[in-house]
């Protein structure tokens, strides 16, 4: 298993060369200090009235010391964050071939819908009679997710995919304990995303690894050998993290169920099969869906996400709270572990879930409809296979045969070039692309995992193919120096991550006052 992640290159400073400016800016690439370094006391970007004098009722707990926040005007703040944004790459800028992330276009209609006052300006604890439309939206989204997955139940409160994993594992644990059959192990393929074992461990389970076979799929015989009565569940990603469909999924489900265990499905790769395959028909018991992957809610530089889970009839009673129930056209919230929800694992998040992401996801789903969503999966798989077919002689595919929505390569094509997967990715940055996912999954050496998604045009893919082929040729021609020095054209070049980890500086601190001049 490759854990090397590419050794951090020892930094060898080069001369900055010509192109030096007085300002430190480089054309439109504008440098920007921290807000704390632009502070001037007395400046403020918000006009607020000063309240008339009154007797404080803070119980003597007034904040005495200065907080230390800098004062800036609105023009300065707008310029600050505008400049910062210009140092970023986004899906709006160009292709993000990140395997496992599904970086598809983020429709702006979704943003407009989420900002309707009827959705954005309502409090979760308003009387339900005043938020029937919000509850209706949640109920509608739940309906769409159930139809698309074929599962009878859904819980919308988990805040992100990993949170959904945790919720799903908790329902499994609750179900086993309810039948007096507490078990201690969960099986996880070695190709799994790190959140899988982390979520299992967070729920108190020991994690055991299942190897992949030579075709990159779960080794059914190895799985059956590990299946004893202490196994609570297996966590399977399908399509898996190598971008391949698990063809023996139904057999795996049967084996798991025969052993009295449950099948957790990681739905991160749902984009490959949405509208074409229903996970229920594969025998799953519970699955999380990443609304920020398949259903286009924006990645926002790292969040927020949303990770609803769909559940089988066996696990439905244990679903986390709250629930939205429809009765005769009216909607109500079930918020307590009592009565109809007495067996629920309980609450995992304050309030009702990531409503802002629900609105965006439903807007996306309605825009595509059943026919459009089916086309999404088709085009996602087509685009990935087009890349695979066009790059398979230039790079080294990890497995034979077609892929699903993402194509996996290993670093075999870089053998003896002195160029690592990391170096290759950094050179790609200079060409205007965000690199593909690197060094994941761990089952392949120096992995490069490429997921174009369905929102890339053929022209965009052709441009990417041209660049990747040229870089592969350049590496094989022996020009390792080009790769080691990359990137050169970005706001910052390679950064010293070793120093950042050895002597962490995690915040700005006011410099110590200078000594008075002699």
């Amino acid at each position: 298993m490759d854990r090397s992640q590419g050794r951090v290159t020892r930094l060898a400073p080069e001369s900055a060369g010509d192109g030096q400016t007085v300002s430190g800016h480089r054309g439109l690439m504008l440098e920007e200090k921290l807000i704390f370094e632009q502070d001037e006391p007395g400046r403020c970007g918000v006009d607020l009235p000063e309240p008339a004098a009154f007797a404080s009722r803070l119980g003597g707990l007034e904040r005495k010391q200065a907080i230390g926040l800098p004062g800036l005007s609105e023009p300065q703040v707008v310029r600050h964050y505008t400049r910062l944004s210009q140092h970023n790459y986004g899906i709006d800028s160009g292709l993000f071939p990140l395997g496992s992330c599904t970086m598809k276009h983020n429709p702006r209609l979704n943003e407009r819908m989420a900002r309707l006052p009827g959705f954005g300006d309502i409090h979760p604890l308003q009387p339900p009679s005043t938020v029937q439309g919000a509850l209706e939206l949640i109920h509608t989204l739940a309906h769409w997710l159930k139809r698309l997955t074929g599962m009878p139940a859904v819980a919308l409160s988990p805040a992100a995919g990993a949170h959904g994993e945790l919720a799903g594992i908790m329902t499994i644990r609750a179900a086993l304990e309810a039948r007096g059959d507490a078990r201690r192990k969960i099986l996880v393929p070695e190709s799994a995303h790190g959140t899988n074992p982390a979520s299992a461990a967070a729920c108190g389970y020991a994690v055991e690894s299942i190897p992949a076979n030579a075709r990159g799929r779960v080794d059914l015989a190895a799985l059956e050998a590990k299946l004893d009565h202490d196994v609570a569940a297996i966590m399977i990603t399908n399509p898996n993290t190598c971008g391949l469909f698990e063809p023996e999924m139904i057999e795996i489900a049967a084996a798991i169920h025969a052993a009295g265990a449950f099948l957790y499905c990681d739905g991160a790769n749902f984009n490959a099969i949405v509208g074409r395959v229903r996970p229920a028909d594969l025998g799953i018991d519970v699955m999380h869906i990443n609304l920020h992957k398949t259903f286009s809610t924006p990645h926002g530089g790292g969040g927020p996400g949303s990770g609803p889970i769909v559940l089988s009839a066996a696990l439905a009673p244990y679903a986390p709270l709250p629930k939205v129930i429809e009765e005769g056209g009216r909607f109500r919230l079930v918020e307590q572990r009592a009565g109809e929800a007495a067996e629920s694992v309980g609450r995992l998040k304050a309030f009702h879930g990531q409503m802002g992401m629900f609105v965006r996801a439903l807007s996306y789903m309605m825009s595509h409809g059943a026919d459009g969503l089916r086309q999404v999966a088709s085009d996602a798989v087509l685009n990935a296979n087009y890349l695979l077919a066009s790059l398979k002689d230039a790079l080294s595919p990890a497995f034979d045969g077609p892929c699903m929505h993402e194509a996996l390569f290993d670093d075999g094509f870089l053998k003896d070039t002195g160029v690592s997967t990391l170096d290759f990715a950094k050179a790609l940055i200079d060409e205007g692309f965000h690199p593909m996912t690197m060094y994941f999954p761990l089952v392949v050496h120096g992995a490069l995992l490429i997921e174009p998604t369905e929102t890339e045009s053929r022209q965009s893919l052709d441009q990417f193919i041209t660049v990747v082929r040229a870089l592969a040729q350049r590496a094989q021609a022996g020009d390792a120096a080009h790769f080691h020095a990359a990137p050169r054209l970005t706001p910052r070049r390679r950064l010293d991550e070793t120093a950042a980890a050895r002597k962490p500086v995690l915040r700005w601190r006011a410099p110590a006052p200078l000594k008075a001049a002699e």
């Binding site: 854990r3 090397s4 992640q5 590419g6 951090v8 991550e497 070793t498 050895r502």
Partner: protein, 125 residues
């Protein structure tokens, strides 16, 4: 006697009487990359052969360091807190991790000598 003995998990041991000094090998530090942090056992802790005794971290990985012998930890290398890079620069000298009082000298027989370890590492390539 201060020749080094080696475990298959790339730890080295230097024995002096009933005290063993433990660290990771040059091969291990090369594989790991720049060491950024070392989590050492507490002095007084009982460690068991082949069980986790310490953790060594690089930027992108955290590796368990297993005790090559059983015994009680009697000293830890406090230099590593401020200068973890010593593990890369001098893995078998200043980059030592901890010292232990050997519980069972017979366990030394299960370790490799330098020649055997060198052959073992070559076989891994």
């Amino acid at each position: 006697m201060s020749e080094l003995k080696f475990s298959k998990d790339h730890e080295w041991v230097r024995v002096d009487g009933d005290v063993a000094t433990v660290g990771i090998t040059d091969y291990a530090q090369t594989q790991l990359g720049d060491v950024v942090y070392v989590e050492l056992p507490a002095v007084g802790k009982q460690v068991e052969q082949d069980k986790e005794a310490a953790i060594v971290e690089s930027v992108k990985a955290a590796s368990e360091v297993y005790a090559p012998l059983s015994g009680e930890v009697i000293a830890i290398n406090n230099e590593l807190a401020d200068a973890p890079g010593i593990v890369n620069e001098a893995p078998t000298e200043d980059g030592w991790f901890f010292k232990l009082r050997i519980k069972d000298a017979k366990q030394l027989d299960s370790l490799m000598d330098e020649a055997a370890y060198t052959a073992y590492v070559e076989g891994l390539a």
